[in-house]
Amino acid sequence: MKGKSTFILLLFSMLFSLSVRAQEIDVSGKVTSKDGLPIPGVSVLIQGTKIGVATNQNGEFRIKVPKAGTVLVFSQIGMATQTFAINSNEPINVVLTDTENELEQVVVVGYGTQKKSIVTGAISQVKASDLENMPVMRIEQSLQGRTAGLTITTSSGQPGDGATLRIRGTTSINNSDALYIVDGVQVGGGIDYLNQSDIESIEVLKDAASAAIYGARAANGVVIVTTKKGTRSGKMSVNYNTYLGTQAPARKLDLLNATQYATLYNEAEFAANPNVAAPRFPNPSQYGVGTDWQSAIFNNSAKIQNHELSLSGGGEKSIYYSSFGYFDQDGIVASDNSQYKRFTARFNSEHQITKAIKFGQTIGYTRTNSVGVSTNTEYGSPLNRAINIDPLTPIVETDPAKYNLPLYTGNPVVRNSQGLPYGISSYAQSEILNPIAALAVAQGKGWSDKVVGNAFVEVEPIKGLKIRSQGGVDLAFWGNEGFTPIYFLNSINQTTITSYNRNSNRGLFWSLENTISYNKAIEKHNFTVLLGYSAQKNKGETNGGSKDGIPVNNLKDASLQFPVSRTNDVFYGGEYLNTLNSMFARLTYDYNEKYLFTGIVRRDGSSRFGPNNKYGYFPSGSVGWIASKESFFPQNKVVTFLKFRGSYGITGNDNIGDFRYLSTVSGGRNYTLGTSAGLNNGVSPDALSNPDLRWEETSSTDIGLDATLFGNFTITADWYHKKTSGMLLQIAVPGYVGNSGPIGNIADLSNKGFELELGYNKRIGEFSFKVAANGSFLTNNIDFLGDDKEFLGGQTVTPQGLEVTRTVIGHAIGSFYGYRSNGLFQNQAEINNYKNAGGALVQPNAKPGDIKFIDLNGDGLISDNDREIIGDPTPDFTYGFTINAAYKGFDFVMLGQGVAGNQVFNALRRFDLPTANYTTAILDRWRGEGTSNVTPRLTLQDDNKNYSRVSSLFLEDGSYFRIKTLQIGYSLPTKLVSKAGLNKLRFYVMANNLVTFTKYTGYDPEIGGGSYGVDRGFYPQARTFFAGLNVGF
C-alpha cells in the first residue's frame, strides 16, 4: 500500500514542479565588502533553488529572476549570507560581512528543531555542506574526525563493514550501540543503507539532556539523520555525482623469506634440542626468496565507484527530493571474495494540502550484495594465513614431480583455472592453510533489501499549535548462503561431502508517534511545549536450512531443492519480538534568548522489562545563559558571543534482550532408566526468574560553553560525567537456592571526558579558508561488577584461550591484561640472581634470552597471579581537524584525524604454532648477550613461556595520526557552464588514508569490531585515490 501511495505522490511531485513562469525581472548589481572592495566569486542564488550565478572579478553579477518578490541569496565561504528581495530591475548593491557566528543555524533535537544559539544540550552537527563532495564509504565514517566526543573505530577495511561508534565512551559492558533515528524512524543495523548525498544533516545528541527525549533507548547517545526534502524553487534541479577510484593497501609487512624462515626454524629447533640429528632444513639457502603470500592476497588496484543522481525541487504547494545511487567496491584483500555493491533509491516529498494541513513522506530503499572474508581472526582469515604460512610452499604446485605425488593425485585437491593444484604446505599447522586455496573453496554471499520510510500529517489549526501524527517503518530482508564443495586442503582440512546452507531473515519495525507542540512568545518570554505519545513494535524471524551431499560443485549451481536424505536435510529458524510504548514532554523556555531552560521527561514501557519495572521515567533538565547578551557585558571586539550551558539527565539502555526476566526451562537434565539403559529426558528451569529486571540507566552531567572570538573564531567546550548503573550481569545467589541466579541489574561504570571544538574562518580577497578542529579526552572506569566479581573475562588469543583483555574494577572496560616483562635475561648469572625470599629461583626454567617476568604479587614465583592491567585499547585522546580553502574556482579540503594513548595487542603471529612465519623484526631477536632486550630467543621448547604468556611484550603503542582525506577540486566558472545548460561542473581528485603516522608495526592501528584493539591479521583500510565529477543541471 505504501508503495502505491508513494508512486502517486511522486506523480504529484512531478506535476507541481511544472509551475508556470511569468514576469521575469533582469537584475544586476555589485557585491562588496565592508571596506567597499569588490568580492568576486560570490554565489548569487534565487532563494529555494539552485539557480544562480557568481560575481565576476569586479564583484558584479546579472541574473533573471522569475517575478517580483523573488529573493536572492548572496553567499560566500567565511561571510554572513545576505538576502535581498527583488521588486524591480534597478541595480542593487550588496555588502557582505565576515561571518559573525554559526549560531543562527538550526539543529535537529528530536521531535523538532531548535536555533543553535539557544540550545542548552551538547549536540554535534554535521551538515550537508560538510559532506558534499567528500565521499565516504559509509555514512558513519563522515563523523570520524569531525565531531568531538565520538570514538569511531573501523571494524575492518572490508567493503561494507561497519565501524565501532561510541558516543562519549563505552556506556555499557553489554550493548553500547547508539540509537539511530532517520527522519524520525528508529533504524536497526546501522545507517550504511543511506546514500551520502541524500543527507541534509546528522546530529549527535551527546548528553542526557538532549538525548532524554528518547528515554530508555538513549543512554548510548543518539544519532539523528535528516534526509533532504527538496526546495520551493519552482524548478527542478538535477545533480549527478560520481567518482572512480583505485584502492591499495597502505602497508605490507616485512615477513621472513624462505631462506630466512628455514634458517630461523633450524635455530629454534637447535635451541630446543642441541642434539638434533639433522636440522629440518639442511640447506636453507636452496629455498631462495620463496612465496610472497601477501602479494597473492592483496590487490593493489581494487576498484571503487559511485554514482548518485538526484532530482529535487518543488513549488509553493509541494517539494520533493528523489535520488538513485549505485556504489560498488572491491576489497583490497582477496578481492574476488570481498566485495560490496549497494543500490539506493529515495523518494521524499511534502505537500501543503491546505494552509493548515501538511502531509509528507520519506522512503528510502536499499539493496546490497556482498561477499566477504574473515577480517580479524587467527582461525582462518586470509591475511592471518598469509602472514603465518611458510614461504616455502608455492601458491600453485607447478613441479610435476610433486603434483604427481599421491597427496595431489589421490585427493580432491583444489586447482586453479589451469588445472594445477594449489600448493599444500608440509609445514603449516592448524588453521594455517594455503590462503588462496582456502579462498577458492569458501563460497558464500549475502544480500539485503531494506525499506525505511515515514509518512506524516501535520495540522496547524492556530498559529504555533502543531498536531502531528507520524508513522514509520523499517522493513528489512536479509540473508546469506554458503557452499562448501568436496575438497582437500590438507589431511586435517578436508570435506567428504558437499554442503549448502541458506537463510533468509525478515525484520519489521514500525512506530506510530503523535505529538502536539505549541509555540508562543509573550513579550520576551518564549515557550515551546511538546507532548507526545509513541508506540513501536519490532519483530522478525529467521528461516534457514542446509543440505549436505547435493550433487554440484559450486555455489552458483547449489540449490535447496535437491533431494537429500533426511539426516542431511536440516531446517532451522528463530524469531524475536519486542514493543515499546512511551509518552514524553518537553518544555523549552527562554527569556529574550538570554536565559534558557529545557526540561524533558519521557516514560517508556517496554516488553523487555520485568513486570515489577514495566515503566521507566527519564527526566532531564538543562539551563543556559548567554552572557554576551547581558547589558552589563562589555561591548568588545574580542568576545562577541558567550554562552554557558549546564545539564543533567537520566537515560536508559533497553538493549537488554527480549524476555530475559522470565525463567526458561531446558532439557538435557537426563537420567538413565531401565535394564537396557534408556535415556530419559529431564527438564528443569535454567535460572531463577527476575521480575525486577529493567533497563540499564545512565545519568549524565554536562557543563559547557560556546563562544565566538573576534567574530570568526568559535569555541565549544564541554565537560561531562556519565555514570551507568544496573548493567546486566548474572546475579549471584547462595548455593542453597539450588539454581543459577537470574540476569539482573548489577554493574556500574562511568565515563568522564572533556571535549573541545574550534572553528576559524578567514577570507583574504579571493582566498578563503576555514578550519575546524576538535579533540576529546575520555576516561572509562568500571566501578562495580557485583558482590561476587572482581572482573569479567574478555578476549582470548590462540586455541589455548590465553586471556588478553579483562574488564576489571578500577580500570577501563576491556583493558589488556597480562604479565609484565622486564627485558630479557642476558646471561645465566641474571637468571641465578633472580631469586625469591626463600633463595629459590623465580624463573627456574629460564635460559639466557628468555623474558624476565616481573613477580607482581611478590610470592617468589611466576604464576597466573602475576598478571595485571597492562594497557587499554581505547584512546585517551581523539582528535581531528578539517581545513577547507578556496581560491577562485579551486577548492581544497583536508581532513586529519588521530588518536592517542591506546595500545594494540599484536597477535599477528600464531605463537602456538612453531612453524608459523615471522616478521623480519625477529631478525633482531636475542642471539647472545647484549643483542636484544626486547625480542626473546628462538626455541621450539618455550619452557619459559615467552610466547604462551600474554605479556607486555606484545603490546604496542596504538596512537596514530592519519590524513584521512585530501581533496582538490576545480569548478568551472558558472558563466561557462551555463552555456552548456549546467549550473555546476566540478572536477576533483582525492586521496583517502593517504598517510598514517604511527609506531604500530601491523597493517593498521585502527582496529575496531569484535576483536577491538587486538590485531589478529586485521583487514586494513585501503589507501584510495579517486577522481570525481559533480554536475548540476
Binding site: 508506540a535 514493543t579 510504548n581 526451562v665 542453597y736
Partner: protein, 502 residues
C-alpha cells in the same frame, strides 16, 4: 474553513486515543518457541520430565569440582588415599583425605551445590504437582512420593556432610533468597523422616524392567531405616528394625535376595540385581564430551578416577590413578574371600606383563568395585566421561548388617541378628561369629569396602578419631565439612561456618 481544522484535529486526537487505550496488552508479550517455568509442567509428560531432572542430580559427580561420593568418601576414610597425579591434582580430595580443609579448599562447594540443586528441583516439582489438575491420581501419587524421597535423599547427604544446613522445602520467593538460616541436624532429620514416611506408601514395591532406576518402596524403606539408624538414637530403632525386616525377610515383596556370588554384585552386566536396593544408573547414551559440564552426561566419572593410570594390559582400561587402596584395608582383607572382588593387586598384574604408572600415594592396590573395564569403555562421546557402570548405594547385605546392628543395640531378637550376620558371612564361605557391635562394624568394613559407607560409619560410631586421627581427623570438627565460604559471604554472614573451621 475553521471547521475543517477542528474536524481534522478531532480525527487525529481520536487516532491517538486508539493507540493510548490499547497500551496495556501491547507490552505484555509471551515468547514463542521457548518453554517457560510458568507454563511448563502442565501434563504428565512434562511433569515426568521434571522429576527426571531431579533424579539427574543423583548421578552428578562433578559439581564445582569432582565429587563422586563413592571414591571421594573412600579417600576420606581409611579405605583409600586420595591419589591422582600429585597432591595438587585434586587438592580438594587431598584436603578431605588429610582433614585439613578450610572454608575454600575441600569438596564442600560441589557437594553443597549438588544436593541443594536436587532439593530445589524436587521442591519445584512438588509445587508444580500441587497445582496441576491434569494428572491422574496414580501418577501424581508416585511422582510426589519420588520427589519427597529425592528431597530426603539429598538432605541426608547434606546433614551427614555438613550438619547444620538451611532447611528449604519450598521454592524460595525472590525476597527470601538471601536470608535462609541453618537448621539443626535434628530439625533436618525430622524433615527427612517425614518425607520418607510420606514417600514409601506411594511407591511401587517392584519396578518394571524399563523403569529400573526409579525409586521403589523397598528403597524408600531402606533409606528411612538407614536414616533412623544413623541418628544414634535407640528410641528410633524399633521403627528401623520393622522397616529392615520387611526388606530383609525371606520372601520379601520386593524380590530382594543376596547374590550367590559376591563378585557378581559389582559386575556391570548385573545391573539392578536382586541384591540392589538403591542403585544409581549410568550410561553412555548421552555420548557426552563437555569437560566444562560433565554432569550433563550420564557416565560414571568415578570409574575413570579409580582406574590405573596409563594402564596397559588385560581386562581393565586406563584410569587416572585416584584412590589407591590403603595397606590397612589390604591387610584387613588379605585373607578374606572378598579380597579379589574388592581390590586389584597391581603387583600381580605387573607380574603378568601389564604396565601402569605409579601415581601420588601409590600402594599398587586399586579399587576393583566399579573399576574401568575394557569391555565397557564407551565408544561414543569422550570415553572418560561415559562409563556405563552403575553404582549401588544401598544393597541387601548392607540392610542385613544395619538390621543386625539395630537389633544388637536394642537387645532384641539376638537370633535374628545372628542369622543376618551369618548370612552375609556365609555367602562368601565364612563361618559364624559372635553377634557383637564390633563384629558387625568390622563386617561392614569388609563387606562394604570402598562403597562409600566407611567414613560415615566411623563418624557415627565414634571411631573416627581413633582410626583417622593419625591422618588429621579432629573431634568436633572433622565430622563435618566446612561450609563453603561463598555461602557465608553472599548471605553476609547469615550462614555460619561449622565449628573448628573459622
Amino acid at each position: 474553513m475553521k471547521n475543517k481544522y477542528i474536524k481534522c484535529t478531532i480525527a487525529i486526537v481520536a487516532i491517538m486515543q486508539i493507540f493510548v487505550s490499547c497500551k496495556k496488552d501491547f507490552l505484555e508479550l509471551t515468547p514463542k518457541g521457548t518453554a517457560l517455568e510458568d507454563n511448563f509442567y502442565k501434563n504428565e509428560t512434562e511433569v515426568m520430565q521434571g522429576i527426571i531432572s531431579v533424579y539427574d542430580v543423583m548421578q552428578w559427580g562433578t559439581t564445582g569440582g569432582y565429587t563422586m561420593k563413592m571414591p571421594l568418601l573412600s579417600a576420606a576414610s581409611d579405605d583409600t588415599w586420595a591419589g591422582g597425579s600429585n597432591a595438587s591434582d585434586q587438592p580438594n580430595w587431598v584436603a578431605f583425605d588429610n582433614f585439613n580443609m578450610d572454608s575454600r579448599i575441600g569438596p564442600q562447594g560441589g557437594l553443597w551445590n549438588k544436593n541443594f540443586t536436587g532439593i530445589n528441583r524436587a521442591n519445584l516439582i512438588l509445587s508444580k504437582i500441587e497445582n496441576a489438575t491434569t494428572l491422574s491420581v496414580p501418577f501424581k501419587t508416585r511422582v510426589t512420593a519420588e520427589a519427597k524421597f529425592l528431597r530426603a535423599y539429598f538432605y541426608f547427604d547434606l546433614v551427614r556432610l555438613f550438619g547444620r544446613v538451611p532447611l528449604i522445602i519450598t521454592v524460595l520467593p525472590t525476597a527470601d533468597l538471601y536470608n535462609q538460616a541453618q537448621s539443626t541436624p535434628a530439625q533436618i532429620y525430622a524433615q527427612i523422616e517425614k518425607d520418607l514416611r510420606e514417600a514409601y506408601p506411594g511407591l511401587p514395591p517392584t519396578i518394571s524392567a524399563t523403569e529400573k532406576g526409579r525409586i521403589s518402596m523397598g528403597a524408600a524403606k531402606a533409606q528411612l531405616g538407614k536414616v533412623l539408624l544413623y541418628q544414634n538414637d535407640n528410641a528410633k530403632l524399633a521403627e528401623a528394625i520393622t522397616l529392615f525386616e520387611d526388606i530383609n525377610k525371606v520372601g520379601n515383596v520386593y524380590g530382594y535376595n543376596l547374590m550367590p556370588v559376591y563378585a557378581d554384585i559389582f559386575n556391570p552386566a548385573n545391573k539392578f540385581n536382586t541384591e540392589s536396593i538403591l542403585e544409581i544408573p549410568h550410561s553412555n547414551n548421552a555420548a557426552w564430551g563437555d569437560w566444562g559440564w560433565i554432569n550433563g552426561g550420564e557416565g560414571n566419572v568415578g570409574t575413570q578416577f579409580i582406574g590405573m593410570d596409563s594402564y596397559n594390559g588385560d581386562t581393565y582400561s586406563s584410569g587416572w590413578g585416584f584412590c589407591p587402596v590403603t595397606l590397612d584395608l589390604v591387610n584387613a582383607l588379605k585373607t578374606d574371600p572378598r579380597f579379589s572382588a574388592t581390590i586389584i593387586d597391581g603387583t600381580a598384574l605387573k607380574a603378568g606383563g601389564a604396565t601402569y604408572n605409579a601415581r601420588y600415594q601409590n600402594t599398587d592396590y586399586f579399587i576393583k568395585k566399579y573399576a574401568p573395564l575394557k569391555a565397557y569403555r564407551s565408544a561414543s562421546g569422550v570415553a572418560e566421561q561415559n562409563w556405563p557402570i552403575n553404582e549401588i548405594e544401598i544393597r541387601l547385605a548392607d540392610t542385613y548388617l544395619m538390621q543386625a546392628e539395630a537389633l544388637v543395640k536394642t537387645g532384641t531378637n539376638p537370633t535374628r541378628a545372628k542369622e543376618l550376620l551369618d548370612a552375609v558371612r556365609g555367602r562368601v564361605g565364612l563361618g559364624s561369629i559372635a553377634v557383637t557391635l564390633d563384629n558387625i562394624y568390622n563386617e561392614r568394613r569388609l563387606e562394604l569396602a570402598t562403597e562409600g559407607h566407611r567414613f560415615f560409619d566411623l563418624v557415627r560410631t565414634g571411631k573416627a578419631v581413633t582410626v583417622l586421627g593419625t591422618v588429621g581427623f579432629k573431634a568436633n570438627k572433622s565430622e563435618y565439612l566446612p561450609i563453603p565460604q561463598t555461602e557465608i559471604d553472599i548471605t553476609k554472614g547469615i550462614i555460619k561456618q561449622n565449628p573448628g573451621y573459622n
